[in-house]
Structure formats: C-alpha cells, structure tokens
C-alpha cells in the first residue's frame, strides 16, 4: 500500500466514498455479477450502474469482462490471483510435457550416434 501514488489513493478513496459502490464491492466479494444483476439489486438504471462500475474499475478494485453482450464484474484482486494460479498450473503442465520431450530428444540423439549421421 505504501507504494500507491497519491493519485491512485485518491481514486481508491473516491471509489469507496459512495455507499452504492461499497455495496457493489461487497456483492462481488460473494460472487461475480453482471451489470444487469447489479443494477437490479441496487435498483438503478443500467447506465447509472455502469458509471459506478467504471469508477471502481478505474481504481483497480473491479475488473470487468465482456462475453457476447453480457459484461461480468469480478473483484480485481481475485481475478489476478486466478490468473497467477492458472499460469502456475499451465507451467507445471508444460514442465511435465517438456520433461517427456527431453526423453524423446535424448533417444533420438542416441540413435543418431549409434547409426552415425545418415541424414
């Protein structure tokens, strides 16, 4: 937190200064939601909710993702954690795969040595 620039802090505090936006964060802490869901829950127009979500997004507190015509909101930090976890699993999968590739290449090297280079 000490690394936050004054501008970033301002954005966060401004985002949190509004009761609706705090409610949205609380809601997203329980589960992801679409803009439509949030607008209904907080009894506002879509445009009004989009504005609130936009402020939260700019402050880095919420991430949104548009799939087809639906925009889904998630807590920003959680999304990062998910990505980090995914990257690590992906790395493990490729690590295992490359370990097997190493064996295949070793075997090819051995064969070439035995046969002399024919190719």
């Amino acid at each position: 937190m000490v690394k936050c620039s004054p501008a970033e802090l301002d954005a966060s505090f401004a985002a949190l200064a509004d009761a609706t936006r705090r409610g949205v964060l609380e809601q997203l802490g329980r589960s992801d939601a679409t803009i439509t869901d949030l607008a209904e829950r907080f009894q506002m127009t879509l445009a009004g909710m989009m504005k609130h979500v936009g402020v939260l997004e700019e402050a880095g507190l919420v991430a949104t993702e548009k799939v087809g015509r639906v925009r889904t909101c998630t807590l920003g930090a959680r999304r990062l954690e998910e990505e980090t976890a995914w990257l690590e699993r992906h790395r493990q999968l490729w690590d295992a795969r490359f370990d097997e590739l190493d064996k295949v290449v070793e075997e090819l090297k051995r064969k070439e040595k035995n046969n002399g280079r024919k190719k």
């Binding site: 990257l87 790395r91 190493d102 064996k103 290449v105």
Partner: protein, 167 residues
C-alpha cells in the same frame, strides 16, 4: 523457485517459464538439450509427438494422433476421458523446418493461434511457444474458465489440461 531438484535424477533439468506476454498472448519457454532439428522431428512426426505431448501424469489416454505438418495440413488428437472422448484439431499455417511452426486451435471458439519458434545455440535449442488469442477477452476466458463454478480441483485441472492440450 524452479530449482527443486530433490526428486530429479537429471541434474541438468531446464527451467520452464510461462507468462502472459501481452493482453492477448501467453508465452511458454524452455531450453532443450539437443539440436533444433530433433526438437522439430519430435514436434512434427506423429509417432514421436504422441510420446511426449501427454505425459503419464496427466492420466489421459491418447486414442489417436494425426499430424500432417505441411502448410494447410491438419492435426487431430483424440483422447479418452472418463466415459467420453474429446478431440483437439486445427491446421498448420506456416511450416519452416527446424525453425517455425504455426497452427490453429479450432476445437473452441476464440481459440489461439500457436507459434512455435526454435532457436538453436551451441547444440541446445530454445523453444518458444506463443498462444495468441483473438482478443484480450478470449485470453482472459482461457485463463479463468472452469473456475467460477467452484466445482473443485478436478475440473480446474481438467480445464488447465484442456487449454494446455489445445495449445
């Protein structure tokens, strides 16, 4: 972090890195202790490819594997998983022997274009694999799908596996 070699009989295990290299791209790298032409062979000949693409620890059975590594040629991998089968397929867009292979991933919408680059130096080969998605959203989706329903690790693993296999 990658230097855990306690259980590794091979002292010289190389490091695998994975990063999100841009909004739309995932990059995997690894050095293989062998010349590029052998890595190329292992990547483009079906009988070799199937020996490594599905490590035993994945717990999947590869039912069939077709690889036609020519420009416009197709590949198709079919796996048995549980009671069903699943297929991964696409075609090769660019084929420069021992150096560059580009293919599509067509089993899902928004699938990546994969680019394999081999850089040989002093008998070793740096392998770079880039998965370029059509949009940031498609890349995000590939990295988080299957986790939101909270159905547990099995699905997460399966999901990661599917994406990896598709890559």
């Amino acid at each position: 972090m990658d230097a855990r070699s306690e259980n590794q009989p091979i002292a010289s295990k190389n490091r695998t890195t994975v990063e999100r290299s841009s909004e739309r791209e995932i990059l995997v790298t690894r050095t293989v202790n062998g010349p590029a032409r052998l890595v190329w062979e292992a990547w483009t000949k079906a009988e070799l490819f199937k020996q490594w693409w599905v490590p035993k620890s994945f717990g999947l059975t590869l039912l069939s594997c077709e690889v036609d590594a020519r420009v416009g040629g197709k590949y198709r991998l079919v796996f048995r998983h549980g009671g069903g089968e699943m297929a991964f397929f696409g075609k090769y867009l660019e084929v420069i022997p021992n150096s560059r292979l580009v293919w599509t991933n067509e089993e899902t919408e928004g699938g990546a274009i994969s680019t394999l680059t081999l850089e040989e130096k002093a008998g070793k080969t740096l392998v770079l694999l880039r998965d370029l998605f059509p949009s940031k959203e498609a890349c995000d989706a590939a990295m988080t799908s299957g986790e939101k329903d909270g159905s547990g690790e099995t699905f997460e693993q399966l999901d990661a596996l599917l994406v990896a296999l598709a890559g």
